[in-house]
């Protein structure tokens, strides 16, 4: 008697002469059979969510730090030096930024690896999903598709950015960053990265809340409506903030293009004696 593999769910069934299914194994077998099921799927799922959450929170904070340029050049300068430990250790250690970048990079890679388990494996699965998505025309299903693609894009774009930050941690500052954005021609990348990262993060956060049942309202549909609002809000806010910030860098970069490469010195340090010293 051949075992039928009907989508994997018929381990216990075989075909009899009629081609119909008959059970062979006693199905009332004791439940907890010795090789206990691995705990890793649970842990990996939690790690995937935790890493995503961490990255998303980081990205939010990061956007605030980066947008400090909107306040003033000095503000951004201060933030940059802050991360280099200048205010606890007496002088800036850019290696500290490299350290932070390494951690982020590690989480990033970890998250990408965990999340990639969910990518369609092979062309057949890819086709199956696309066909399904196109016929169903369903919001949350399409959002997931967006997440796959933005995640995929992040994989390349964010890596470049992180590599930059890892290798040139000292070159973070109003002029340095603006030069990188404009003279270094990074702005197209940043523009795409911005959209990809923000969309990915907000959809990710939304999904996280659904997935674990956080922030529930009286009915599932109501909680979803609420979460969807929150998601739109987060996307809109951070993309706007990012665009304005990027514009500021571009502006500054263009103005500073001729002197590209020059390091920024905060006004409170050089104002008295560096004026006019070029």
């Amino acid at each position: 008697m051949a075992l039928i593999d009907n989508n994997g769910s018929h381990e216990l069934l075989g075909a009899d002469a009629s081609g119909q299914l008959v059970i062979h194994a006693p199905t009332t077998a004791p439940l907890r059979q010795p090789p206990r099921k691995s705990r890793w799927p649970a842990r990996l799922d939690m790690l995937q969510s935790a890493s995503g959450l961490f990255l998303a929170l980081f990205l939010m904070a990061h956007m605030f730090f980066v947008s400090s340029i909107l306040i003033s050049h000095d503000a951004f300068y201060t933030v940059a030096r802050f991360f280099e430990g200048a205010y606890f250790l007496g002088k800036p250690y850019p290696i500290l930024v490299s350290g932070v970048v390494s951690i982020i990079l590690a989480v990033f890679i970890g998250h990408a690896w965990l999340a990639m388990r969910k990518f369609p494996a092979g062309y057949r699965q890819y086709r199956a999903f696309v066909t399904h998505k196109n016929s169903l025309r369903h919001g949350d299903t399409s959002l997931w598709w967006l997440q796959i693609w933005t995640g995929f894009a992040l994989f390349f774009m964010a890596t470049i950015h992180l590599y930059d930050m890892l290798t040139q941690p000292a070159l973070i500052g109003p002029y340095e960053s603006a030069d990188r954005v404009w003279t270094g021609n990074m702005w197209p990348l940043y523009l795409m990265l911005l959209f990809a990262a923000e969309l990915h993060a907000s959809v990710g956060l939304y999904r996280l809340a659904i997935k674990w049942g956080w922030f529930t309202a009286a009915t599932p549909n109501r909680s979803r409506r609420r979460l969807r609002w929150a998601k739109h809000g987060i996307s809109a806010f951070f993309i706007t903030l990012g665009l304005v910030t990027l514009a500021a860098y571009v502006d500054l970069g263009r103005a500073h293009a001729e002197r590209a490469g020059e390091r920024y010195v905060p006004t409170y340090l050089n104002a008295p004696h560096t004026a006019g010293k070029h």
Binding site: S9, L12, T27, L44, L136, W144, I210
Partner: protein, 252 residues
């Protein structure tokens, strides 16, 4: 004091409906999947059950489809209606356009035209997930039954209402990609038995059944299941709940 009787459409002319059916008979080696269009006149209160039967009686007697209760309670007639899974018997044509496309539920074994073998898959899932009360207690049928809180009984029924129609599987992108995924129907059943105090199984036992990427951790929260379930089961909350419970096992 008769309240508004029914929506009156008498003034509107009857529509001609074009019903396109994705046809294929796997028993016939020469058959290739193709769309076939049928034209019929719409009638008042016409459901897809009525329409398809009319087509079979008057136009093509070989058309295959499954209806049993024709009242939306048995789960036989799930199909893709304009691309979305739903119960054909309780879909009124007046809620659809003049061109209606019908296709069999994907994922399940095709029997012919609109008929798929959901029953076989559901039985397999039942066996795999052991969806029955596991109890070592002997019930004395002459003694008073064990009491149960009324709200609890209602909460169990709430999850027991699944009719195994397969819409949630057809509406789930994960299931389309990964054939071993138990789907919302399976997870909901586990949630149902978990809630039932008559079932002795612990969370550890349930972890053995759904604690992997073919089970609850495989669900990517696409929520297609929740949105297409004709019985409006709270699949979204139940899956999230199970995920939390099973994750805790993973930490232990």
């Amino acid at each position: 004091m008769i309240s508004i009787l029914r929506r009156k459409n008498d003034t509107q002319p009857t529509r001609r409906l074009c019903i396109q059916v994705l046809r294929h008979n796997p028993a016939d080696a020469a058959s290739v999947p193709h769309l076939q269009a049928f034209e019929i006149a719409e009638a008042e209160g016409m459901t897809l059950f009525i329409a398809l039967n009319e087509i079979r009686a008057t136009q093509d007697p070989s058309l295959q489809f499954d209806f049993v209760c024709r009242a939306g309670i048995c789960g036989s007639c799930a199909m893709l209606i304009d691309g979305r899974p739903g119960l054909a018997c309780r879909t009124l044509t007046r809620d659809l356009g003049t061109t209606i496309t019908l296709a069999p539920l994907p994922f399940f074994e095709l029997i012919g035209d609109l008929s798929v073998n959901t029953g076989k898959w559901m039985r397999g899932t039942s066996e795999r997930l052991q969806t029955w009360i596991h109890s070592s207690a002997q019930t004395d049928l002459d003694a008073l039954e064990a009491p149960m809180e009324p709200e609890l009984a209602e909460a169990i029924y709430e999850l027991d209402r699944c009719i195994e129609c397969g819409c949630c599987i057809a509406g789930c992108g994960t299931a389309q990609m990964r054939e071993k995924f138990v789907g919302a129907v399976g997870l909901n059943k586990i949630a149902r038995f978990r809630l039932d105090p008559r079932d002795d199984r612990s969370n550890d036992d349930f972890y053995e059944l759904i604690g992997d990427d073919d089970g609850v951790f495989g669900c990517m929260s696409l929520l297609g299941c929740h949105d297409v379930c004709p019985k409006q089961l709270p699949l979204q909350t139940q899956i999230a709940y199970l995920r939390r419970k099973m994750a805790v096992i993973g930490l232990a």
